[in-house]
Point group: C2
Chain length 105, copies 2
DNA sequence: TTGACATGTGACTGTTTAGTCACCTATTAT
DNA sequence: ATAATAGGTGACTAAACAGTCACATGTCAA
């Protein structure tokens, strides 16, 4: 798995949106994902290809359809690069606090 | 904290290297960080500004020096976006396994 | 106060990247 | 068979970005 590909893949808002959709529910086809976006099929296809190349999305063919699944492992590896086990608890608590405060207002 | 700024900031290898250095040891100055890189001071300064704008680096002035510190909270928020508490344990184990296998050769 | 040091700004250039289009292949249903 | 469906390729354009440079401000030591 290539570091650089993962980070570059995550740098685009459309690709992050695709990951959000797959996180919500796995196994979607290109056509289904395309229908939610203000973009041509070719644009979405390119983005999915980038995500797949980065290992953030894995696919399975089923007839003429291609099903897409989220692979969260590269995300965890990013986390582990800058947050070691000793500080994880503290940082996690801070992040939870931040989310709670933002959700509240 | 702006999502997009964080992801774009992480998309560049030089900026990730700077985060690595700060993860190793906090409180470095621009000049110190510059000396390790094959790049002019201006390039490094621009990168640090991007990291600061994303909230990944926080700074403190001390006389004519500017000290840089790593803030890992945005990284944790990325993690939490696609890895919920229920799957965290499993994904974490997979990531550890991957690291172990790669370190072994 | 003079010179060295540490950081900062705005403009410029070459490269990369997002998004589209014309055109193509493979699979399914009738 | 044939028409509709699902996915795929290579070339193109406009916008974004990395990196550099001339020039400038504020701080420290002798």
């Amino acid at each position: 798995m290539d570091d650089d590909r993962v980070f570059r893949a995550l740098a685009d808002p459309t690709r992050r949106h695709l990951l959000d959709r797959l996180h919500e529910r796995d196994g979607r086809t290109l056509t289904e994902l395309e229908s939610e976006l203000e973009m041509t099929r070719f644009g979405v296809m390119k983005h999915l290809k980038v995500l797949e190349g980065a290992g953030l999305v894995v696919t399975r063919r089923s007839g003429r359809e291609k099903l897409h699944f989220l692979n969260p492992v590269p995300i965890r590896l990013i986390h582990d690069r800058w947050i070691d086990k000793y500080t994880e608890r503290r940082v996690s608590a801070l992040a939870d606090l931040k989310t709670t405060l933002e959700d509240a207002g």
